[in-house]
Symmetry: C2
Subunit: 251 residues, 2 copies
């Protein structure tokens, strides 16, 4: 059994603890965070000086804290890994054996996930530790990729577009329905189908709507309906980006 | 049996013909379009003067063509409906009985859909025709709403945000993965989960990412990675919109 200490008290740490709770290869022997929050019966400490010995120390802390906390892990020669999309593996350079396990998913507090489908981006500074990361990842997921720090940063950027920014566009749609006394639920089948479509072809092939078909009249009417200049600007800039992608006239 | 003629040769006309093919209440007796494309064994004509008599004439043509084609439907007292999100019911004012059946979904050519879940936005200029539209809609879907022309325009605008613009953000994510030799499929679980999350709470509650947590360092790194000024601008404007929604500092 491989032993692991999880450092961090946020959503990611909680979800990772929950994912490894089902693993027959890994035992989470301790959690560390300042608030003292744990998962199920895993022992928790609020002091880095009380860390127990383990094979792997996994940091699910904020990007800025990675280097500092890694530096304070006292035990000799453990494998220290972080879980960040945008931080280089070199942030762990105070340790001889270092790695990254970046789960490419959005984690919310009260939302349960199918952990077996989460893609993990793995990196280690030597081959045997890479094999170890692959071995423990396989015990919780069917999906893993070897991705170095440079590519991981790009992937994190892509994730901001397809997740964080997409969610804000959902919010903009939500606000329009709310202001007009329309139930937001009426948009759900469209939201789900738009996401489902890109499993079947490239997003470019799946594009529909006024900007794609150069329907200037409809776009002008839409701009008039948007009262706030910030919202008009988002409408305009995204319509023009679609027009460019499809060789159409801009707004 | 209620008889219907479908006018239009695009994706929407094809999908509507396909949806009504399973209806036991409606028979599509003819299709009209300039290219002469039909669906299964439905008779097709390329001449408006050859339209047969029917209870309902359904226009699934481009917004700009609705008024003109409606005007050319020759038969006395039929119910004429269009399927557009952004055109008023009054575009059909050459007919005494007029209505709208707007399917709130994105239709692509080679993609099959579960028609029973498509929300239809219904409107008619008299109550008995509204009842008739509800009756025929129920024969193909479990989801329909009474939405007038003003609200329908707002809903169409919301649909552009949650579908067309969202799809373009998928495209931006696709381009980042392609430029860096990363398989786009690695982003699929994230895309699907981001869409699935908003069935459980408001998009505002589900927001995650650097702009939400005011992570200026990561946002600056992301801006540096985006080479094209248009892409930087989209990153900046959407990050600022998220910051505003969540009371954070702008980029």
């Amino acid at each position: 059994m491989i032993t692991m200490v999880i450092l961090g008290g946020g959503n990611v740490a909680q979800h990772i603890a929950k994912a490894f709770a089902t693993s027959t290869e890994v035992q989470v022997v301790q959690m560390y965070n300042r608030k003292g929050v744990s998962f199920q019966s895993i022992p928790v400490t609020q002091n880095l000086s009380d860390l127990v010995e383990a094979d792997i120390y996994l940091l699910a802390v904020s990007d800025d804290a990675i280097e500092d906390i890694a530096h304070q892990i006292p035990h000799a020669q453990p494998l220290v890994v972080h879980t960040s999309g945008s931080v280089s593996i070199e942030a762990l350079s105070s340790h001889k054996r270092r790695g990254v396990m970046y789960p490419l998913q959005t984690f919310s507090k009260d939302r349960s996930l199918d952990y077996s489908t989460i893609p993990w981006c793995l990196e280690a500074n030597n081959n045997s530790d890479y094999q170890l990361l692959e071995y423990i990842t396989k015990s919780i997921s069917t999906s893993f990729y070897s991705i170095d720090s440079e590519k991981r940063k790009k992937l994190h950027l892509a994730a901001v577009f397809v997740c964080n920014f997409v969610n804000h566009l959902y919010q903009m749609g939500y606000e329009i329905t709310e202001e007009n006394d329309i139930p937001f639920d009426i948009l759900q089948p469209l939201i789900q189908e738009t996401a489902a479509k890109v499993t079947q072809g490239t997003p470019r092939e799946m594009q529909t709507g006024p900007a794609k078909r150069n329907d200037q009249k409809t776009m002008q009417k839409h701009l008039e309906m948007l009262a706030l200049p910030e919202k008009k600007e988002i409408y305009q800039i995204l319509s023009n980006a679609i027009a460019q992608t499809h060789g159409r006239k801009e707004l």
